[in-house]
Symmetry: C2
Subunit: 305 residues, 2 copies
Amino acid sequence: MSFDAAGGSTLRFRRVGIVGVGLIGGSFALALKTVKAVDTVVGFGRSRANLDTARKMGVIDQIATGWDDIEGCDLVLLAVPVGQLPEVMPVIAPRIGKDTVITDAGSTKRDVVLYARAALGNALPRFVPAHPIAGAEKSGAAAARPNLFVGRPVVITPIEETDPFAFKRVRATWQLTGAKTLRMDVAMHDMALAATSHLPHVLAFAMMNEIAHRPQAEAMLSLTGGGFRDFTRIAASNPEMWRDICLANRDSLCNEIDAFSARLAQLRHLIAMGDGPALEREFESARVARDALTATLNAGARPRD
Amino acid sequence: MSFDAAGGSTLRFRRVGIVGVGLIGGSFALALKTVKAVDTVVGFGRSRANLDTARKMGVIDQIATGWDDIEGCDLVLLAVPVGQLPEVMPVIAPRIGKDTVITDAGSTKRDVVLYARAALGNALPRFVPAHPIAGAEKSGAAAARPNLFVGRPVVITPIEETDPFAFKRVRATWQLTGAKTLRMDVAMHDMALAATSHLPHVLAFAMMNEIAHRPQAEAMLSLTGGGFRDFTRIAASNPEMWRDICLANRDSLCNEIDAFSARLAQLRHLIAMGDGPALEREFESARVARDALTATLNAGARPRD
């Protein structure tokens, strides 16, 4: 595993279509505009108010008048919630130009690939699934910023059918946003994200609920220190979005919950048995791994999302 | 449950003995000096270098020449690791003056009370167990600061034998450090801390180990976002200290692990069944609880530990 080297590029698009002009879609547009890789950005979306904001802020240049505006785009980014893709893909599929490349920003990939295989038809080889791992505390076009992806990982998960030229073109485009791209297969991506993102969210939700439902909740929460607060910060995440992510990635996520539960049961056993030396070894091993992660993050000077 | 009101006080000690001049013991001494509540602070400890540092920094005024120096103290703080109390308490017990009050700073209380009942004899009524919930990233006298406890909760857990006058005197002393004291019984304290502090640490240790032991660990960790990093920050905590805390509070902690595991299993069931509405209700309930915690913390403007 290693990040792809960013190649020098004279990549330029005439018209880029952004379907879903939120934090991710809007930041992608701004990043491409910043490096002058696009002449015109067209925004597609359900909220007229959001699209008006996007145009006023210069995130997009035009608001699409209908789905037919996909026809003139030579790059399309699908940045709607993954749950909307089964509706969106069949509508855009017949309107995609024969040289147009398509990418997405969904945080699960197996389901996106299933939808694409079902809906995209002849355009399927030019669809290159991607997942930018970048912050999502704020949403909407107003939160977009040109440097959102700088130094952030973007996982690209080409499938069997993917045209190598389309893959390279999409990869180079994500690199233009300042992202560090890395290629992974779909299953590995979904497993890795289940372990490092979806599982921690589920644990944080479970912990907040376990405490909040107790009669002594107020007293307990009055005692929380910085550890608890950091640990549960992600429990304030958007419930609808996380419902969709958990269901979309349910197989990998259930596997990760099981693996985690087994390891927790093992620690519980050591605690119940009073096995101090084994417990200390476990904690020491976790500390070493966490310190190594800190060192890697500091070395990469990756901005905090 | 409510925090105790801080009463105005003319509390003043002639000699305060700090047994264990680390972050907590040193900060306690500095806080009392700042409000001129003590004439002389005497430091007791095993590391001469640390005591020298403490004296040079003005954290303590004198280094004890032996345990007999306990005799002249009218307030004693036991701030050594809880595991050392079974050795320390029998040594100081016969040397405690008959009007002297004693408190501690241990993060578990049932075990401390057991040790105290076994060792303190006549001094037991004047021992008032306490637990300041304040940061512990750094340790040693050099890390001490006078404002460590300002706005932080200090749980005081008097027992049946505790003399009411000693309780009031110790509570007023902790309030002089700027802490918000609250009274709780021992079992409630240990349960609350197991849930809000010890369990999150165990979960963070388990998560780091689960990922670090996989062949794909490097690729997985390269994808981590801010959520994962916040979630696992506490996995870098001191393994020896956390081994001791987990074992000292093992009954409450195992109960909390079981309650948490049951709730996690319930979420797993909803995910596996694809029950979107129930899942969203769970996540929404967690979000509401976490947002309320944020609001409380912001309202209290409690400094981050």
